[in-house]
Amino acid sequence: MTQGQPILHVESLSKRFGGLVAVNNVSFQVLEHEVMGLIGPNGSGKSTTMNMISGALKPSSGAIILKGQDLTRKKPHEIARSGVSRTFQLVRILPELTVLENVIAGGVFGHARRWGKEVETFAAELLARVGLEGQSGKPVSALTYIDQKRLELARALASEPEVLLLDEWLAGLNPSELTVGIDLIASLRQEGRTIILVEHVMDAIRSLCDRCLVINSGARIAEGTPEDVLSDPEVIRAYLGDG
């Protein structure tokens, strides 16, 4: 799908933890229907940035604007309602709920809100969408790791977000599972979802991203198409290595 207008503006965003500046004056935009990769070395501030957009952390300075709406000082639940959904770097499923209920959880209180039969039907569709049909009654503990990741993704999609934040969603998958995972995200891209993707898997970055932002020590060091940034000497030095 062709990209549209910018919908998310991040302006001069910074985050300090005590003396440590985890994110330092970072600005970028995300276009509608775009998959934007956010990459960088360990500890460079990727998760911190994602956490600020989703409201888990309060920015020290800067602004985050979604479709003209200022999210900077908003609480996580308000941001979720405005249309930002996320997954977590370490999978967080709701252990005491069934598979279906886990997905419903995403569709009741967020951006698009449904309840009753409607949300059940919708959640069941999403389960099928991510490849979990027929598992809706199961306790989540019975799911394999990749299925848990799928489930988390379905939960994030259930609110029909404007922007989806995926923080190392592919981490921990083995190569064949990785192929499945990449295909799943690719199909979301086909649907025209707007996604910010944090990954260390270069294959995924290459095949999925329209555009990449590279940060190091909290500051932007490169931006452009995956090919461009991944051949940038600065990025190679700080992030990829020569291996």
Partner: protein
Amino acid sequence: MNISALAMPGAAALLAAAACVPFVADGYWLSIAVTVLMYAALATSWSLFSGPTHYIALSTGAFFGIGGYLVGLGMSDYDQSFWAMAALAPVVATALAAVIGWATLRLSGVYFVIFTLGLAEMVRNLVSWVQNNFLGSRGLYVLTDLDETHIYWMLLAVLAAVFVFGWWLGRSRLGFALRILGNDEAVARHVGINTARTKVLMFMTTGFVAALVGAIVAPRYYYIEPNVVFSPELSFVVVIMALLGGTRKLYGPLLGVLPFTLLWEVISVSFPNATTLVLGLAFLLIVYFLPNGVTGLFGKLLAGRSS
């Protein structure tokens, strides 16, 4: 489907049967029944909040105390009727719960537990201080014409209301939000749940019920002493009964309260000189041999039969 179809008329029949207890029970059994209802209402409402959220609130004593104390104060010092005070007390407690809820929202886990534990102490002290310095009362007597039968019926009504509320909650968005919150608060926030409001709302509900129960049983005590109505032990007992019964099912706490009260009674009667000691031993045995509470045991028995 079958079970839920039976649930409504079943519950109604149970309620009707329970309402008749005062006609058949003598004083002793009635007073046990009153005790059971009191703890059942407290433990059930406690588990509406603490069950799904896993926040172990030890504030029952504080709100229960406010209920009893306000009734005593209003009737003794301001010539108010019992009914007026019994209506007012839960409102005050709910307001207080709202304030405390907001103030302690950032506390999680054990921090919340300890704060609520201290709450009864703090409220008792503040109340005593205010009374001492500004009201100067002469003993708070709650003299009404209500006897145990009336108290029993009122408590039964409260318990029934708590059950209806719990039943509704189980089907509502609020209840669902609460379950998500109890599983993972961060996830709850990020799927759009106003976790702060949800928690405070439920905390207020338990505060309301505890104060109402405190107000209703005040005539049973006749004389209200802060150090009796604001008892930390009550908070613990309620929690222990609820945990014993199991908090996953709405009827779980009731299944804890019943055997617990009876056990307590049996021990009091059989070991009049060492009641506390034997109770302690019984506690340990329960913890070791009933790790999942009475509902857990139930579940096991059912599973055992079906397999």
